[in-house]
């Protein structure tokens, strides 16, 4: 049976924990709003880009640039794992890593070479335990201020296209957490290179009219594709950032509630112990008086 002092200490420690989780929840809620706005604001561009690419690739056929058609081989896969820089966000990072591990397992079972590029500290920490030797590169996002990820996205995109052209890998897949709504984030695997327009992208039916291209179809595709890849990376980063905050908010809300329940039950225990002590003291006084 813990003493009264022990109980009091525990209650006050749980209370300060509750204060911290409550504060973290409110911070996450504020950040979520901004991150969500950024993610929604970036959507029209990504969607238009996808439909432009769908229009172009439909007419480009098989003779397109490598970024679109691939190297013709399917041996080396690069898995880009996009996670958060910080923990304490419920299962957010774990779910992404779980999907990545599953994917890596599948590819290795098929006898393919797998390379991993991690974005975000948490993914690297979790993956390096099992697949430390496969991680070829890591990108740190912790220095990014104010949620402006466009530069990081562009530099990551450049790195990927550069390595692809150098023949470092044949297929690049991005694994990230898609932001569905505040309560659910869906770990998703998306193929980046060779680029493919999403199947649901709307293509415009031109009837018999022919597109006029300036300067030329190939030149447009060549400038468009790297940008398309950058855009996909950027929107993935933004979605993941929004998801991280949403997940942290939910996790911290739960933690706050749990701390509240714990405080209640500890207070009850404390009050009982106090009452028991009073009763004991009374009995001692009364039996002392009777003995006289």
């Amino acid at each position: 049976m813990p003493s009264l002092k022990d109980l009091k200490n525990r209650i006050s420690s749980v209370k300060s924990t509750r204060k911290i989780t409550k504060a973290m929840q409110m911070v996450a809620a504020a950040k979520l709003k901004r991150a969500q706005e950024a993610a929604t604001a970036a959507r029209p561009y990504a969607e238009r880009m996808a439909s432009v690419l769908a229009n172009l690739s439909a007419s480009a056929g098989a003779g397109g640039p490598k970024l679109l058609t691939g190297t013709g081989e399917d041996k080396t896969h690069l898995i880009v794992v996009l996670t958060a820089e910080r923990g304490l966000a419920g299962g957010f990072n774990t779910y992404v890593v779980k999907l990545a591990k599953q994917k890596i397992g599948e590819l290795r079972a098929e006898g393919k070479t797998v390379k991993i590029l991690t974005v975000g500290k948490k993914g690297r920490e979790q993956l390096s335990r099992e697949y430390g030797d496969l991680i070829v590169n890591h990108i740190d996002l912790s220095g990014v201020k104010g949620g402006d990820f466009s530069e990081s996205a562009i530099s990551l995109g450049k790195l990927l296209t550069h390595e692809f052209e150098a023949g470092e890998f044949d297929v690049a897949t991005l694994i990230y957490s898609q932001f569905v709504n505040v309560l659910s984030q869906l770990p998703t695997a998306q193929q980046l290179i060779p680029a493919s327009a999403p199947e649901d992208a709307e293509t415009v039916d031109l009837g018999n009219a022919l597109y006029i291209y300036e300067p030329s179809e190939e030149a447009i595709l060549e400038t468009l594709l790297p940008r398309y890849i950058n855009t996909q990376i950027l929107s993935a980063i933004l979605e993941s950032a929004a998801g991280e905050q949403a997940s942290r908010m939910t996790a911290m809300d739960n933690a706050t509630n749990n701390a509240g329940e714990m405080i209640d039950s500890l207070s009850l225990q404390y009050n009982r112990a106090r009452q028991a002590q009073i009763t004991k003291e009374l009995i001692e006084i009364i039996s002392g008086a009777e003995a006289l």
Binding site: A41, P44, R48, V52, N55, I212, E214, P215, T223, L234
Partner: protein, 135 residues
């Protein structure tokens, strides 16, 4: 109205404009071009420059874009800009300040640094933006 052109301008950060207009003049990489309603399907890359939106004969809006694409379909004109700013809401002093800051950053970097090239590009872009504002 039948003879209106649906025009939208989006940048990675947000959608700047979407609506019905009469006439849009954009800086294509092969030369400036104008788009009216019922234009033939057309796609081009853009260079840095000013996109002008006309209502009748008067210029209603000027937007400075930094590279990108223009896509004309039966549904209208879509401009995908790398970066876009509303010219009418900018102040020359602010742009000048950004220019000076970028120049300082360029000078602080070593030669051959990849970041320097990117900054130089940004500097050129700001210069042309400033030039567009003065006119």
């Amino acid at each position: 109205m039948a003879n209106k052109l649906h025009f939208s301008l989006v940048s990675p950060a947000r959608e700047l404009f979407s609506g019905e207009v009469d006439h849009v003049i954009a800086p294509g990489s092969e030369g400036e071009f104008g788009v009216l309603a019922n234009h033939a399907p057309f796609m081009t890359t853009l260079k840095n420059g000013v996109v002008r939106v006309l209502e009748g004969d008067t210029v209603k809006m000027r937007i400075f874009v930094r590279g990108g694409f223009a896509d004309v379909t039966a549904e209208g004109l879509t401009i995908l800009a790398e970066e876009a700013r509303m010219l009418d809401k900018l102040k020359v002093e602010d742009v000048q300040k950004e220019l000076d800051e970028t120049l300082l950053k360029i000078q602080s970097l070593d030669k051959g640094d990849t970041a320097k090239l990117a900054l130089q590009e940004h500097y050129d872009y700001l210069e042309s933006l400033k030039a567009a504002m003065v006119h």
